[in-house]
């Protein structure tokens, strides 16, 4: 069905060559599989987030439509797709010329190394290919049973809440430990029950069902346990994993809960990539440029390489190009740690001249960036390594809307302002922070959500549409506390219209 094929012949030789350089530089990667395909296939893969099989949904069709048009009119072209699995699969466009393939392969080894070593990825499921395919099968089965339109419309609603997940989930929190223990327990139960249980319900649903069992048990227990039970309302406060909250608390049918579980799993899978866009692209670009310019290029390819590389690194006034900022910041760190331009002595040095020519011949640059790629995400990366000199050199600025001219205009080139803006944009992977405030608001089983306002207002049109979708799942009025134009407001959607209380 998918027209991808494994690389062979000269391309395979090229892979071996590039892999050799990657080894020399000390990259540490999952086994790497390259496949080639035509543009239509790569458009399909891109529309489906890199995976050959997903659940049926029109949004994949929409992305495919846009990508195909983009390719047809020469607006955009995807050179490569790489996905975070073990082994790591990457797809090359078969019409890429030789130099493109070289560059892309080197770039992919960078991503692969990043996927394997960055700590934010440590909990991702590397068998996602299977998980996605299984989710597809499950959802297809639900469609056969309950009707395609009904299931698809339900998915629309869940996707609308897809960004309401908790970044902290990627940490080694109690919950994560708990869920791992539960998984292990489950496995041992399954082993006791005579091997593998044929139960493909999503993990979140299973653990929820187990906790339901516990609640049922609780009913038989004496009074003191029950009082604990009624305090449960307060425990919902502050929850940011709203998808999970819905699975556990919304009046859903089992298949609905299961679908939320599937989509939640997929959302968490993509989360680290959204949190490390700049670092990941910077790291991969650093390595394609290093491997190509120092090892893999033929002299006659230099100019073409420079051309392609410059295309990828294009700066934009409207947004930050993660490739550009990423690679430059990586190089800056390498340079500073090679020359010792950091730390107390350097920072407090009173002489501009000395600072300018500072070089302790420390030579720790390469080592430092390997360390950085292991432990940082975009936020901490910029927080720790962005310097005024860097912002100046990279011509960074912030812009804002000018109501008088009706345009976006350059606001400031001040270091603190830029840093603040970048960090705000990256906070919570660029999504507004929304958390449960009260799951029994007004004692009427209404849901109260709180938007933790970080200086930027919500788009209320979108919020309205999103709250409608949430209402469809919660089936009781939805309230949202936020700040609009510096005024604290609670919005209420009661099933008919959105009103400010």
């Amino acid at each position: 069905m998918l027209r991808t094929k494994m690389i062979s012949g000269k391309l395979l030789d090229l892979q071996r060559e590039i892999q050799g350089y990657a080894d020399d530089f000390g990259l540490d990667y999952f086994p790497q599989v390259f496949e080639v395909c035509d543009y239509d296939t790569i458009n399909i893969l891109a529309a489906q987030g890199g995976f050959p099989i997903r659940y049926p949904h029109w949004k994949f069709g929409m992305d495919y439509d846009q990508l195909s048009n983009g390719y047809r009119f020469g607006i955009q072209k995807i050179y490569e797709m790489v996905i975070n699995t073990n082994p790591c699969y990457a797809y090359l466009l078969e019409v890429n010329n030789w130099l493109d393939q070289k560059l892309v392969m080197a770039h992919v080894y960078g991503h692969n190394d990043f996927f394997k070593n960055n700590m934010w990825y440590s909990h991702t499921n590397r068998n996602m290919m299977d998980v996605m395919a299984n989710n597809g099968t499950k959802i297809r089965r639900y469609m056969e049973k309950y009707g395609q339109d009904r299931v698809e419309q339900f998915i629309d609603k869940v996707l609308s809440l897809e960004n309401l997940i908790d970044v902290n989930h990627l940490f080694e929190t109690n919950e994560v430990v708990q869920s791992r223990k539960e998984k292990e327990k489950q496995a041992s139960i399954e082993a006791e029950n005579g091997g593998y249980m044929m139960d493909d319900r999503s993990q979140a649903l299973k653990s929820f069902m187990n906790s339901n069992k516990r609640h049922d048990d609780a009913k038989d227990l004496p009074q003191e346990e029950i009082s604990d039970f009624s305090a449960q309302n307060n425990t919902d406060k502050g929850k940011r994993d709203i998808l999970k909250f819905l699975i556990e608390n919304a009046p859903l049918e089992e298949w609905e809960a299961d679908i939320i579980g599937c989509l939640r799993e997929e959302a968490y899978y993509f989360l680290p990539q959204r949190m490390t866009k700049i670092m990941n692209e910077g790291w991969a670009s650093y390595w394609h440029s290093t491997i190509l310019t120092q090892k893999a290029l033929d002299p006659n390819e230099i100019v073409d390489f420079a051309d392609i590389h410059a295309g990828v690194m294009t700066m934009s006034k409207q947004n930050i190009n993660p490739y550009k900022v990423g690679i430059e910041l990586m190089r800056d760190i390498e340079y500073r740690w090679n020359t010792g331009k950091f730390g107390k002595d350097y920072n407090e040095c009173p002489s501009m001249h000395d600072k300018e020519n500072w070089n302790t011949k420390l030579g720790l640059g390469r080592e430092k960036i390997f360390e950085v790629r292991k432990s940082h995400n975009d936020i901490t990366f910029l927080e720790e390594f962005l310097t005024p000199e860097f912002c100046n050199r990279q011509q960074l600025f912030t812009y804002k809307y000018n109501p008088r001219s009706g345009r976006m205009e350059i606001d400031s080139r001040d270091f603190q302002a830029i840093k603040q803006k970048l960090l705000t944009q990256l906070t919570n992977f660029g999504s507004p922070l929304i958390q449960v405030e009260d799951s029994n608001f007004k004692n009427r089983k209404e849901l109260l959500l709180k938007h933790v306002h970080g200086g930027v207002d919500l788009d209320m049109q979108f919020a309205d549409a999103t709250m409608r979708n949430l209402y469809a799942l919660w089936k009781r009025p939805i309230n949202l506390a936020t700040i609009i134009e510096e005024k604290e407001t609670v919005f209420n959607f009661d099933g008919n219209e959105l009103k400010a209380l």
Partner: protein, 371 residues
């Protein structure tokens, strides 16, 4: 077999067609929204198909960029526009506005379905017939390469069930020779019908920008429908005040003259064009006339009527008159035509277009007869 994404794709197309249908009135009354792209293709902006999420307001968010420029310099465009470059798996959602491409048949079908327009039955005059094969049906014979697996297995299942050999516990379906189904061609005779649309418009002082905008929008949709109905179609444009002249399409919508109005001048030129270029035996002829209803004199109206009776009506499929309401127009011409031909004549179709909102109804007036 096609990749499953083709099914996602067709569901997506279905959803957007539904959206366009629901908002057809808006698209029609707001005129310039649908942009022709090359021949027989259109792009349609589609603002709100994407899945809504909690997100930041664009204006209050602002952003950061790279490049030269001082404080207060505009950064142009909107934030969130994509960069050309490499795509990456799992990229965050961009907030691009969708541009949907649609070809003329699809768009015309939406218009036709929504307005319940009948297909036009061309005049049965000399036409070039061509045979076209389309694989739209299923037959019992054919080459293996055209075998329709789904239908074959369906047939086998039906047979097994009716013979009582189908076992639901062991659902094995084995087709035999007689079950085989093949894609088969239906030959349809397509008629190479030719049509010409002759637009006439009063450009005298009383027709303002708004009126012309209405005519422009209306003619866009009329063209769209007629183009979907005729293989070979030509458009001619005539403007007139006291005298008439033939112009190009863009001139037609831009010209503004002062001076009086002699509608007969346009009708005479129309007659001349038909006589020189379009043999009524071979062409389906559609004269459209738009004005605000003012004519210089009752005498000229009489000349118009006789031109209609003697030449235009016998030689065209139908004559359409659209009266665009304006502050200065008297609307007399409509009354005169209505008195003579009645408001539900088959040959002379009259429509009053009060404002942009009324365009859709007016299109239905004109094209609802199926002629």
């Amino acid at each position: 077999m096609d990749h499953p994404i083709k099914r996602d794709h067709s569901r997506f197309r279905k959803i957007i067609k539904g959206k366009i249908r629901d908002n057809l009135k808006k698209y029609v009354s707001q005129g310039q929204q649908i942009i022709p792209k090359g021949k027989d293709k259109f792009t349609i902006p589609m603002p709100s198909i994407d899945i809504p999420r909690f997100r930041f307001g664009e204006k209050s968010e602002g952003g950061s960029g790279q490049g030269q420029g001082g404080e207060g310099d505009p950064v142009d465009g909107k934030p969130g526009e994509g960069e050309p470059g490499e795509g990456e798996s799992g990229e965050g959602e961009g907030n691009k506005e969708l541009e949907i491409e649609m070809d003329i048949e699809e768009l015309a079908k939406i218009l036709g379905d929504e307005l319940e327009l009948p297909n036009i039955e061309p005049k049965g005059k000399s036409e070039i017939a061509s045979k076209v094969d389309r694989y739209t049906s299923v037959g019992t014979v054919g080459p293996d390469s055209l075998r329709h697996l789904k239908r074959t297995y369906k047939q086998a299942l039906k047979r097994q069930m009716s013979m009582g050999v189908y076992d639901p516990m062991n659902p094995r379906v084995v087709p035999i020779r007689a079950d085989y189904r093949y894609r088969a061609a239906n030959s349809t005779t397509e008629l190479q019908n030719s049509a010409v649309v002759i637009y006439m418009m009063d450009v005298s002082g009383s027709m303002g920008e708004e009126q012309k905008e209405i005519v422009r929008t209306e003619s866009f949709w009329i063209n769209l429908w007629l183009k979907s109905q005729y293989k070979n179609i030509e458009m001619r444009y005539i403007i007139h005040d006291a005298t008439a002249k033939e112009v190009e399409e863009d001139v037609f919508f831009r010209t503004r003259e002062s001076g009086g109005t002699l509608i007969s001048s346009a009708f005479k030129l129309c007659k001349h064009i038909i006589e020189t270029d379009y043999d009524p035996n071979e062409w389906n002829i559609y004269p459209f006339h738009f004005s605000d209803g003012d004519n210089w004199s009752a005498d000229d109206t009489k000349v118009c009527m006789s031109l209609l009776d003697d030449f235009l009506l016998p030689n065209s499929n139908m004559f359409c008159y659209g009266q665009v309401e304006s502050r200065y127009g008297s609307g007399q011409f409509y009354k005169d035509l209505a008195t003579k031909y009645g408001t539900d004549s088959e040959d002379v179709i009259l429509s009053k277009i009060k404002d942009k909102e009324a365009i859709l109804d007016s299109i239905k007036d004109f094209l609802g007869k199926g002629k």
